[in-house]
């Protein structure tokens, strides 16, 4: 069980480096930027939660707080009873984190990388080798496991990245836009893996801009807008609450980024956006 309560995150703005030019972002206050203003939610075991929000909404900041690479300025995050600040290492043992900005060691191969990560998580040699074999099979890495990571394609690298974040069999998995930039077969491997996590009783939080992924996979959706939680519930509740038939419309309706004179107009825009995303 993951419990996030009253989490806020404030960054100091460097002089001359304002976050938003032009109209003031409500999160900007003097020399400070409140990336997360008040975030409360919980994720039960075996749940897949889709994290939604525009670029810069605060999704990655929230995920980094959950992954312990950032500390909350206020509030707390507890995972299986452990506090993310006081018991950071206990939380780290239970979390697998993958961010869009996470890099890989280009001069190592996948096997070497996983062995290194496994050692850092304190896995025994036998258990580590078995886990590596299991991940290679699940993510179809075997055929390029001994190639230097620097020579792999984007899709192959993403699969290695996922394997890296899962090597210690975490009970809680955080994926930041795991399918962005991937071809359809590779994205499918990733999504299938997330689906399998549910059956294995693991919890997954993944951020995405692809509403069809949320609709297909997620038990819950959490929408963050300008550092605040604007919606938390099931995808069906999200549509019902807004009266929209598509999640895209529901998203736009909740964030209020576009106002439509009629539902038909909203549906047309959402439909166009949906195709735009798929083409991209």
């Amino acid at each position: 069980m993951l419990a996030v309560s009253g989490v806020r995150k404030t960054f100091d703005l460097k002089q001359g480096k304002k976050k938003t030019p032009g109209p003031l972002d409500p999160r900007e206050e003097g020399k400070q930027f409140h990336a997360l203003r008040q975030v409360d939610f919980s994720v039960p075991k075996g749940t897949i939660l889709g994290l939604l929000g525009a670029n810069g909404a605060g999704k990655t900041t929230l995920m980094r707080i959950l992954g312990t690479s950032l500390k909350p300025s206020a509030g707390s995050v507890r995972l299986s009873g452990f506090d993310s600040v006081k018991d950071a290492n206990e939380v780290r043992k239970r979390v697998g984190f993958l961010s869009g900005n996470t890099g890989l060691y280009n001069n190592l191969d996948a096997q070497e990388l996983l062995r290194f990560c496994g050692r850092m998580y304190g896995l025994s040699a036998g258990a580590l080798e078995a886990r590596i074999d299991e991940l290679f099979e699940e993510l179809e890495i075997g055929e390029f496991a001994h190639r230097r990571i620097g020579t792999l394609s984007a899709g192959m690298k993403q699969r290695v990245s996922i394997a890296r974040s899962l090597v210690h069999s975490p009970e809680f998995i955080i994926f930041d836009e795991p399918t962005t930039g991937l071809d359809v077969p590779t994205a499918q491997i990733v999504l299938n893996y997330i689906e399998r996590c549910r059956h294995a009783g693991k919890s997954v939080i993944f951020s995405t801009h692809h509403m069809h992924e949320v609709e297909k996979l997620c038990d819950q959706a959490l929408l963050i807008h300008k550092g605040l939680v604007r919606f938390h519930g099931t995808p069906a509740q999200m549509k019902a609450q807004t009266g929209c038939s598509h999640l895209d419309d529901a998203y736009l309706s909740i964030t209020g980024e576009r106002s439509f004179s009629s539902k038909a107009q909203a549906d047309t825009v959402a439909h166009a956006l949906h195709h735009e995303v798929i083409e991209a």
């Binding site: 980094r64 992954g67 312990t68 690479s69 950032l70 500390k71 950071a88 290492n89 206990e90 780290r92 043992k93 979390v95 984190f97 961010s99 900005n101 996470t102 890099g103 890989l104 060691y105 280009n106 001069n107 190592l108 070497e112 290194f116 990560c117 050692r119 850092m120 998580y121 304190g122 230097r148 890296r164």
Partner: protein, 404 residues
């Protein structure tokens, strides 16, 4: 703890050594570039000196008619060539290298000589570098010969005809100067000073490449985030990285030292007998001690450069800060060239300079106070620990991972 540090060490070492650029830096530069540059530098210096020794020197004499026998001495020497230059343009002609020197003989020169007075002859030349003293040495040689001849005539005139009588008059006290410094000490002093400098620079560069890559580079590539989200203390992550920077820095220095030693031996085959004797007196034990002295200096470089790389926001910033540190190293390394700087307790506590001075003493074979080495290691531990402590404190800040 040891397992964690070892895992980070091997991962970083493997990652660094598999980068072809590092191999090129580590082996090509010290193995080929330094001996090649050294060889060409020596050849050039030797050739230049020989050339200056043999080149025909153009000169002018103002007032040659006042003392024709002196003018004749110059005219008879085939290594000189007389050029007429108006008196007012002599300085410019020397600066332009139209002539290399000028003699000015006063109008009353004959009268002064015959009256037994002291004759003043002006010798004008240009010297901004020590090597240009050769012009003065060659240009004044006939003048000195002429002066000695005049002295002999005058002494003969005074009645001191015999050579012994003349010598006793001119040098009533003869002192026997004896320098007890051995050839190894004299040549070793210069050799030791020269050897230490490139070793420091290469060692520093080796540490800088690795430190920037392992700290700033990891952050820019996004791999630092992987490390900090693992259940290990950040201190261990840093210690693992420090060890890689230190080991590779030492490897750079070792390769450079082997290369320098080989070059010295090869170059020494064509050198003078004295130089050969000096080389033969520097034993393997001395070289091992020189290598051991690189250990503290590499540790200091590694700790400081790692601190710089952890602190820097980007490669660019890390390189700028490293350049400033490099400048400081150059200043400290060249301090040993300053006359009067020797291995004292004070200097044994100045990083870089202290190791340079010990290396010099070792090559000279005159290191007597081995307690100084203890002082050097003590200073190293203090500076290295301070730099590492700074890195550890700084590395705990979250903006270090996400400086953007």
């Amino acid at each position: 703890m040891i397992n964690t540090i070892a895992a980070i060490f091997w991962k970083d070492l493997r990652e660094t050594l598999r980068d072809r650029r590092n191999i090129v830096r580590m082996f090509v530069m010290p193995c080929f570039l330094i001996p090649l540059m050294g060889h060409f530098f020596l050849q050039f210096a030797e050739k230049n000196s020989e050339q200056l020794d043999k080149t025909e020197l153009a000169y002018t004499i103002v007032g040659a008619e006042n003392l024709p026998e002196l003018a004749k001495l110059y005219a008879d020497d085939s290594s000189f060539r007389r050029v007429d230059v108006p008196e007012g343009k002599i300085d410019q002609a020397i600066r332009d290298k139209t002539i290399r020197f000028a003699l000015k003989i006063p109008k009353d020169a004959r009268q002064q000589l015959t009256s037994g007075a002291q004759l003043g002859v002006s010798f004008v030349y240009y010297q901004s570098a020590p090597s240009q003293a050769l012009v003065k040495d060659r240009g004044t040689a006939p003048l000195l010969a002429f002066s000695e001849k005049q002295r002999d005539w005058r002494l003969a005139f005074l009645g001191s005809a015999s050579e012994t009588a003349r010598d006793s008059l001119l040098k009533p006290v003869v002192f026997d100067v004896r320098n007890i410094a051995s050839d190894q000490e004299r040549i070793g002093h210069n050799l030791g000073t020269i050897i230490a400098y490139p070793l420091f620079i290469i060692c520093f560069m080796g540490c800088a490449f690795t430190a920037v890559e392992l700290a700033t580079g990891e952050r820019e590539k996004g791999t630092m985030e992987i490390l900090v989200m693992m259940p290990v203390a950040r201190t261990f992550i840093l210690l693992g990285k420090f060890l890689v920077v230190f080991v590779l820095g030492l490897l750079y220095s070792t390769v450079s030292m082997i290369s320098l030693t080989t070059w010295l031996v090869v170059e020494g085959m064509n050198a003078s007998a004295t130089f050969k004797t000096v080389l033969s007196q520097i034993g393997a034990g001395d070289m091992l001690l020189v290598w051991l002295m690189l250990v503290p200096v590499t540790a200091v470089f590694s700790a400081i450069l790692l601190a710089i790389s952890i602190y820097s926001r980007s490669y660019r910033e890390a390189n700028s800060f490293s350049s400033i540190a490099n400048l400081l190293v150059v200043v400290l390394a060249t301090a040993i060239f300053v006359p009067g700087v020797s291995l004292t307790w004070f200097w044994s506590m100045i990083p870089v300079s202290n190791v340079g001075l010990v290396i010099r003493e070792l090559i000279k074979g005159s290191l007597s106070n081995y307690m100084m080495i203890g002082s050097i290691f003590g200073t190293t531990i203090v500076i290295g620990a301070a730099a590492l402590a700074f890195s550890i404190v700084w590395f705990r800040r979250e903006e270090v991972i996400f400086r953007d």
